[in-house]
Amino acid sequence: MTEPKTQQVKSVKLIYFAWVRERVGKPQEDIDLPAGIATVGDLMAWLAKRGDEYAYAFENPKIIRAAIDRAHVRPDATIAGAREIAFFPPMTGG
């Protein structure tokens, strides 16, 4: 007996900094996460297909850093439960 799966539409806030922000063309946005996006890496791959500006911003995901709810995470981090996910280049403060 299988229950019908309800579609889980989860809204999350994305924030972009530095040249990621410049390439995407906006500082932040709210998106509805589609099913099947489990990790930060999955999310970057999905974003890259959303249009030329995203494809440009995420053309080399290896050099992009991410934070979930204001803490650094690796690309294999799960995004379940995230409210705010940020993407940015390696930091150059100090």
Binding site: I15, F17, A18, W19, A67, R70, A71, H72, A86, F88, P89, P90, M91, T92, G93, G94
Partner: protein
């Protein structure tokens, strides 16, 4: 242990911050103050200014986490971290780290640890303004290496005082 963490557009006054940290106390024997200054050239080419972008909320949280880490590693009597954002011209200060302790080694180690972490982990990004064009500063591999050296280091509290 008092810790002051501030992000601001305005320049800071290192002497006034040091006075706040040490004023009226006689337990502090050593204060290390690190000031990072905007240089007039980047990779040999003159620059007009730096513009620092940051991630509000996360920047403060990251710095606070590393201040706590420093406090757990060394016997500190006070820490101040001030990091500026916005447009900064050559010769202006960018960042201040103060570490106070009874003895010099703890103050030196904590200040250097905090600067290494600020460089590699605090969410700030520098944009260079030069000859009318703008470009983002690339992160240096050496800054990641500088951070890694603290990861296996045993706490220096055990070292010579």
């Amino acid at each position: 242990m008092p810790a002051t963490i501030r992000l601001q557009r305005e320049p800071f006054d290192a002497a006034a911050e040091t006075a706040v940290l040490t004023g009226g106390r006689t337990d502090i024997g050593a204060v290390v103050a690190f000031t990072g200054i905007c240089r007039g050239a980047e990779d040999g080419a003159p620059i007009a200014a730096l513009t620092l972008e940051h991630y509000p909320g996360m920047a403060e949280a990251e710095i606070a986490r590393h201040v706590e880490e420093a406090q757990s590693r060394w016997a500190l009597l006070g820490v101040t971290v001030i990091h500026r954002y916005g447009r900064i011209t050559p010769g202006e200060p960018i960042v201040l780290v103060l570490a106070a302790s009874s003895h010099r080694h703890d103050a030196f180690a904590a200040a250097e640890f905090l600067m290494d972490y600020l460089k590699a982990r605090a969410p700030f990004w520098k944009q260079v303004e030069a000859a009318g064009s703008r470009s983002w500063v690339e992160a240096k591999q050496s800054d990641d290496s500088a951070t890694e050296r603290w990861q296996d280091a045993k706490p220096r509290r055990d070292a010579a005082e």
